[in-house]
């Protein structure tokens, strides 16, 4: 139980930061796909536009590029921003292989790839998570909209208080009453986050090519 509660606490921290970012940063609807919705599904031009926008805004990229190596099926990776995307979009990314999407296993080496990294398109490396925000059935055509933050290095910060971050609190049954019938288990934490540079972040909104996939 305490293990699950600790996971829930960390997930709660993530969700708060997630919701804060999608509430505060401006949005760009995808328009490069062909599904006729608003936003559309992703096309490679959407990634180009996102990176161009952040470059014009003088954002710092997170990762330097990966130089090409003499390995079959691999190719160099550009210096990149990070996109935080939903795992449900992975089928769409796979459909863009050959159009600009490169799976992380096609990197010359994946020592710099993060565990959640799915691949890259042009100057954006894509991390996927099942907890990425999605607005169910709210696109112009009634499909799910995925909110995918794209960040430069100086966009967001997370502030911890000195000497305090989170507590996992267990009170044994001795404290519940004379009959000592009930133990309690609780979590509490404090966190603060801030957009340090609003020009270095864009929320990329997209639908899927086909919701049935």
């Amino acid at each position: 139980m305490s293990e699950r509660l600790a996971v829930a606490m960390r997930q709660a921290e993530d969700l708060i930061l997630r919701d804060y970012i999608i509430s505060a940063a401006s949005e760009i609807n995808a328009g490069g796909g062909g599904n006729g919705d608003n936003p559309t599904n992703y096309g490679v031009t959407d990634f180009s536009l996102l990176a161009t926008t952040l470059d014009t805004n003088n954002s710092y990229k997170f990762m330097s590029g990966i130089e090409g190596m003499d390995r079959f099926g691999t190719g160099p990776v550009r210096s990149s921003y990070f996109m935080l995307a939903s795992t449900e979009l992975q089928t769409d990314f796979d459909g863009m292989v050959g159009q600009g999407f490169k799976n992380q296993w096609d990197y010359p080496n994946n020592t710099s790839a993060l565990q959640s990294e799915y691949g890259s398109v042009f100057n954006i490396r894509i991390l996927t998570s099942s907890e990425n925000p999605v607005a169910r059935g709210t696109s112009a055509n009634g499909q799910d909209i995925y909110y995918n933050p794209v960040l430069g290095k100086q966009a967001v910060t997370h502030i911890n208080q000195d000497g305090y971050s989170m507590n996992l609190i267990y009170r044994d049954p001795y404290y519940s009453g004379m009959l000592a019938q009930n133990a309690t288990l609780a979590i509490k934490f404090a966190q603060a986050q801030a957009l340090t540079q609003d020009t270095a972040i864009r929320i990329s909104l997209a639908t899927r090519l086909s919701a049935s996939l």
């Binding site: 804060y20 999608i22 940063a25 401006s26 328009g31 936003p39 014009t56 059935g137 696109s139 009453g177």
Partner: protein, 383 residues
């Protein structure tokens, strides 16, 4: 079994609109009493008291009311009764409400669109909604506004409400019962958990050095705070963009809110020229991938906290949270004006629904009525 039960009570003066009550728990029972009406004696078509249990379902209430003949009877409020809520996650929506065979969206005026539903929409003024599938035909309709959050400006009846938009725009075709799509909308349940956020302008006008901005839903900006715009060129007014990419690309421009006329209107000073802004510019066919004009908060008010106007010495910030047209205090302590805050909350809502048989009065009471309430969370429920 009352070891972990929770009890709360309080009172408020009704505005006639749905009233959220914030609590440190989510109640499963609520009692409401209209003190003003009880003190006034028997009167036609008034709801005097109400009770709700979560087992009845959300938005329901059993009420005691005076009939049109001033007889005291029991009745049911079937929609917009009492409901509980826990507001912690963004992007939560209600069911998709189809406009239906006798519904539609009428181009009422240069500032108003009127939405009609076939079944009861269940909305109150101040709620936020987002539309989808606004096809009148395959090539006409209102898809250029689908996906934008709108505040319900007024509720004319249980099946009619209005929103703010350039309702006579040439790029819109009215939606009616013969629409080829399945037009509908969803209520955005918790639209303002973190504020101030992004707002979507539907009107930007310049007059005598002052720009007035009308947004589709509350902006939650404060006087003196810093804002910026992102306006795709198709809408015009690109001079306001945070990054104009003309004389000095990469050097952002910000503005300071000078007045907040209402939840959806603010002004700021501007000295340059401004090309016309119009949400009527994008043709219907351009809606796939259409990017919306946005204004967003970029900085707080450097002079600090909220001015003292009596009452609490350190008042919490107020937020237009989507429950009604009024701003409500959050659960926070004092904050810097315009700074990002969280407005998470839980509690219950006393709706403005009418009885099934007694239809004259509303549950939350008329404007200035004093309402007493009690809320409970039971730690043991037998069935």
């Amino acid at each position: 079994m009352a070891e972990y039960s929770r009890l709360a009570k309080g009172h408020f003066t009704s505005t006639g609109n749905a009233q959220p009550i914030f609590l440190p728990f989510q109640p499963d029972r609520v009692k409401v009493l209209n003190y003003t009406l009880a003190a006034a004696g028997a009167a036609a078509s008034k709801i005097i008291s109400a009770q709700w249990d979560v087992s009845m379902g959300q938005g329901i209430a059993i009420v005691q009311a005076y009939t049109s003949g001033s007889a005291l009877v029991y009745d049911i409020v079937a929609t917009n009764g009492i409901s509980s809520f826990s507001e912690g996650l963004s992007l939560q929506f209600g069911n998709n409400i189809l406009l239906g065979a006798s519904g539609g969206i009428a181009k009422t005026s240069a500032t108003v669109l009127t939405v009609t539903t076939t079944a009861a929409h269940g909305l109150s003024a101040g709620n936020w909604v987002v539309f989808n599938n606004l096809y009148e035909t395959a090539t006409t309709g209102m898809q250029t506004l689908a996906g934008i959050p709108f505040q319900v400006v007024s509720v004319t009846s249980t099946t009619v409400f209005t929103i703010s938009w350039v309702g006579n725009a040439s790029n819109l075709t009215a939606i009616d019962g013969s629409a080829t799509g399945t037009p509908g909308f969803k209520q955005i349940l918790y639209p303002a958990i973190y504020v101030p956020g992004i707002a979507f302008p539907w009107s930007i006008t310049l007059s005598a050095g002052v720009i007035t901005v009308n947004t589709t839903a509350p902006h939650n900006f404060q006087v003196g705070q810093e804002i910026a715009f992102r306006i795709p060129s198709i809408y015009g007014a690109k001079e306001l963009n945070q990054l104009q990419s003309t004389t000095l690309p990469g050097s952002p421009q910000y503005f300071y809110v000078s007045t907040v006329a209402s939840s959806n209107v603010f002004t700021f000073n501007y000295s340059g020229s401004l090309s016309a802004f119009s949400v009527a510019n994008p043709p219907f066919a351009s809606f796939p991938g259409l990017k919306f004009a946005q204004v967003f908060a970029a900085g707080d008010v450097n002079s600090g906290g909220f001015p003292y106007n009596g009452g609490n010495l350190y008042p919490s910030p107020t937020v237009y949270q989507g429950y009604s047209t009024a701003a409500v205090n959050t659960i926070n302590g004092p904050s810097i004006q315009g700074a990002f805050i969280n407005a998470t909350a839980q509690g219950f809502i006393i709706g403005a629904g009418a009885g099934t048989a007694v239809t004259g009065g509303v549950l939350v009471g008329a404007n200035t009525n004093v309402i007493y309430w009690e809320a409970f969370l039971d730690d043991y429920v037998a069935n």
